[in-house]
Amino acid sequence: MANNGENPSPDVGGKTVKLKADDGEIFEVEEAVAMELQTVKSFFDDDGVSYDTVVPLLNVSSTALAKVIQYCRRAVELRAKSGDDEGANEKAREEREGLEAELVREESDEGIKELILAANYLNIKDMLSFLCRAVGDRIKNKSVEYVRRFFVLENDFSPEEEERTRNEVAWAFEGVDAD
């Protein structure tokens, strides 16, 4: 399984947590990384559950989970690097932005959607933030029809409502075909 390369055995002495993706695959991650996923954090916090319990993440595919873990691992590392030093902070921030850009650049539209749903389900605020920004970027300067296809939406305006929006189309898209 290719994921083994991205999921090495945990360091000696560090506590780990086991996460199970929707297809049954188990990911063993360092505790600090696992706690980046707020959903996982509350799983342990709220119920007083033993850290040995495998956390079932039924709505997350192993593909998405692997990427999430990869991102969170790097994010935790970068956060450890930054401290009081202005310069170090700046460098860490730049590296994080580079990491985010790289992650979204390689993703297809379906991949981004999968990641957003995963980040939302797992409640990872920072990741959700840059993913939403990326989606916003992908629908900029696109037609209304493109946005509908991307988000799997039907045009549910009534004929009267549609009529009332025509002047918006004419005014905002002078010369451009909005659909």
């Binding site: 399984m1 290719a2 994921n3 929707d22 297809d23 049954g24 959903t39 799983f43 956390v55 079932p56 993440l57 039924l58 709505n59 595919s61 192993s62 593909t63 692997a66 390689e106 993703e107 297809s108 991949g111 959607k113 999968e114 957003i116 749903l117 939302n120 389900y121 409640n123 959700l128 939403c132 920004r133 989606v135 916003g136 629908i139 900029k140 300067n141 696109k142 037609s143 946005v147 509908r148 988000f151 799997v152 939406l153 039907e154 045009n155 549910d156 305006f157 409502e161 009529e163 009332r164 002047n167 918006e168 189309v169 004419a170 005014w171 905002a172 898209f173 002078e174 451009v176 909005a178």
Partner: protein, 380 residues
């Protein structure tokens, strides 16, 4: 997000592997094409039913980053996708008064910002008697890509002149959904009336439908009527000394009460275009009156001077600065009375700047400026 909820997963025993979306990993051997397809369908469904707060976040980001035209149209696009998107987008987008951005056509009928004016320019096309209002400081800075806000065509009639105002430059039919109003002048070109095709929203304002004419255009169904509502009157008076000094100008804005510029006041802000007549109860309330600021005589330069703050560079009798005129008993602060609510002036051949602010809207400002193009020699 209750992860302790168990979902039924069926374990199929298939033989084929399915490549994941990103193409870098394969599903493990215990998955099959059937469950992979099932999870794709699941994901599609989850995506289509994405939580509203997520959708809100995405649309909000688009709105926050696309603040100027032409990219502002991405926000309009969001409002055209479907009902839920329209609702969210309309909730997110603020009025020009709040955020200085013009987003939807209705923004043109909403008051401008209070702190500083929105700057526009007007280009006159003599050959076709049309006038185009653009957003922006001046044509030169944008190289022809300025956002067209409104267009007007001058139509001379037997006893009056009409300026028909439209959202687009190629359609001046009053039956069209791009028709937004008009300016009508009297024969002498001394008195003008601004008509809005939009009925007033604020129920405390009495509709002054003196020239309330129902038009039943052939293109629309008989039950839809197009009304015109008188929203302002403009009058020009000859300079008392009959010299080449500036003429006196007064605008009575029936649709905006004086309370709009009093402490804590607001101006009517329509949120959607409607094209049906709504009857509203009448109350008496003093309308806002604007007068042009009197220029000072500059002894050394031997001319009348107005401070346009650099936005007007060519002397012309058409140039004006409008400020609110209030009686002492109307309790309008000095700060408010000093504010230039509308400024109009020439910067080149057939190019004029128009700066407007609260409580006027772009539509009202444009209509008032158009009157300046039609005044006859009797007033000059």
């Amino acid at each position: 997000m209750d992860i302790s909820r168990r979902r039924h997963t069926h374990q199929y025993h298939g033989k084929s592997h399915v490549a994941a979306e990103c193409g870098t990993t394969l599903f493990s051997t215990c998955s099959s094409s059937a469950s992979a397809t099932a999870s794709l369908v699941q994901q599609r469904r989850r995506w289509a039913n994405m939580p509203p707060e997520l959708l809100h976040d995405i649309i909000q980001r688009v709105e926050a980053s696309q603040t100027t035209w032409p990219t502002r149209r991405d926000v309009v696009a969001c409002a055209l996708v479907c009902r839920s998107w329209r609702k969210i987008t309309k909730e997110i987008v603020k009025t020009p008064e709040q955020c200085r951005s013009l987003t939807f056509p209705i923004s043109l009928k909403q008051p401008g910002p209070r702190d500083a004016p929105i700057q526009c320019f007007i280009r006159r096309e003599r050959a076709t008697s049309t006038f185009h209002l653009y957003l922006g400081l001046s044509p030169a800075l944008f190289g022809g890509t300025s956002k067209l806000l409104l267009a007007a065509r001058k139509i001379r009639r037997a006893t009056s002149t009409d300026f028909v105002i439209s959202l687009v430059a190629d359609d001046f039919s009053r039956a069209s959904n791009t028709y937004v109003g008009k300016l009508r002048s009297n024969f002498l070109g001394t008195k003008f009336t601004v008509y809005d095709s939009q009925p007033r929203q604020d129920t405390s304002i009495q509709p002054n439908c003196k020239s309330h004419r129902r038009i039943y255009p052939k293109q629309l169904s008989p039950r839809v009527s197009v009304c015109n509502y008188s929203v302002a009157t403009i009058s020009y008076e000859l300079n008392v000394f009959r010299t080449r000094g500036p003429r006196r100008m007064q605008c009575t804005i029936h649709s905006i009460p004086i309370s709009a510029i009093q402490e804590g006041g607001t101006a009517p802000t329509p949120m959607e275009f409607t094209n049906f007549h709504e009857s509203t109860p009448s109350t008496s309330d003093h309308p806002l009156i604007l007068k042009n600021k009197a220029p000072r005589w500059h002894e050394q330069l031997q001319c009348w001077c107005l401070n346009f703050k650099g936005r007007v560079t060519v002397a012309s009798v058409k140039n004006f600065l409008l400020v609110a005129a209030a009686e002492p008993y109307q309790y309008v602060s000095v700060t408010e009375q000093d504010k230039v609510i509308l400024q109009f002036g020439k910067i080149g051949k057939d190019i004029f700047t128009m700066d407007y602010r609260y409580p006027l809207s772009a539509f009202q400002a444009f209509a008032i400026c158009l009157s300046s193009f039609d005044t006859k020699p009797a007033c000059e």
